[in-house]
Amino acid sequence: MANRLQPVFPEQDTEHFWEGAKQGELRYQQCNACDTVVFTPRAHCTACGSDDLAWKVSAGAGEVYTYSVVRQNRSPAFADLGAYAVAYIDLDEGFRMMSGIVGVGDPTQEVRIGMRVQVEFEPQESGEYPIPVFRPV
């Protein structure tokens, strides 16, 4: 079982996002005043400053905007993973999130920019919050 770092609370901006992860939902926000998609979560719209934001649930489909394969990380939480891919994912609803790519044999060869991916919620030995990661489709 994966053993990634867990989010730490209380943290008012991201709490609702992570409650969603527990329920298998990838949540994001959209401004009711100007329709701007807001991510990462916060209490105000980054385009107009409004605090009237709606929480939405993403279909979890998107593509790899860019990525790197980490070959060396001295943090104990990642030391045992071997080479692993981190990426920025562009979700179809219009937000970009940092995440990890799973389900590839050799991440140095099998991850591509533009590759279509789908979210999944990876259970963690480290705690109660599953971590949203992406798998090629």
């Binding site: 860019t66 920025y88 995440s99 920019i113």
Partner: protein, 395 residues
Amino acid sequence: MAQEREAAIVGIHEWPKRVDRSVSALQIKARSIARALDDAGLSWGDVDGLYDAGEGAGGGGLGLAAYLGIKPRVIDTTSVGGTSYEFHAAHAMRDIAAGRCNVAVLSYGSKAATERIPIGTGGPRAAGGSWQANMENPYGSTLIANYAMVAHRHMHEYGTTTEQLAEISVATRAHAMRNPDAVQAMNDLQFADVREISVEDVLESRIVADPLHLLECCMVSDGGGALVIASKDVARGTKKKPVWLLGSGEATKYRENGGDITTSAAAQSGPEAFAQAGVTPDEIDVAMIYDSFTITVAVMLEDLGFCKKGEAGEYVSGGRMRWDHADGPALNTDGGGLSSNHPGMRGLFLLLESARQLRGESTSQVEGARLAVAHGNGGLLGGTHCGGTVIMAAD
């Protein structure tokens, strides 16, 4: 636009050792300030402006003045990572022009090597409970991986190659081999090979985070230094030729939905600095650009206007960035963060080597150097970062 010459760099000091167990970070700062003042022919009591990024235990606006034993009229504690010093120089230029102070000091000290701080590969140690840490720490993105993501996208969009990026490491190492302090640094830090390197050497070095190789990554050293900036009246009486501050720009950039990761804050700060200075990139003799990684330099050469977006790979090819190449500018002529000095926040050294070049004191002296640009980057190139640009001229 006419060049305004209100403030100048009049004193400089770079701490020579990159592994130094005998001093603290604050001692590096204080002793460097004394030596920079001596370089200018000014004294401790002349200082009336203090600019500090807060690094070193007990530093910052509250601590450093007390430690030094000075009572400045201006205290500026802008802290924007590695480019804090370009911001400080910009603010000192403004404060001096406004008559708020006459003799400003900037200083930096770090023990990143002897304290074995894993700057590039440390990654998050514990999820932090901040809005950013909670969203990113679970993924184990190291600092190097963040820059590597910029490199991958640059390669994808523009066809940039590792062979091209490696030219930046090659030119910088050539400059380092001409700088005795840089050679000593590489020896003290136990570099495997202290010699000039080739593009092939870079390609054959191990990959730390795809697509960045070890020889595309800066060192982690101890070090520091200080810089004295003075008003034009003070500058006329100092020991060395003043190096005039002509223009500056400050900007920030961060991850945005749909944003372009291959463009940095330099795209905003650069044009502002060049406009204020009244000069253009093709007039620049020396480009001191924060070389945390090869890709950092490539992106910033484009954003500062030395070449078009996407063309840096071609631009740096054929040894163009070397100090003795016919076409300018010369890049990081002290050896850069890649091969001379990188204790974590390199911005001060960009100003120091610019000043050496414009005084005619560099170990890779560009003949007749008249104009230099220093561009620093603080934070993460592919995430939240700040960019500071400073344009300088010889007397």
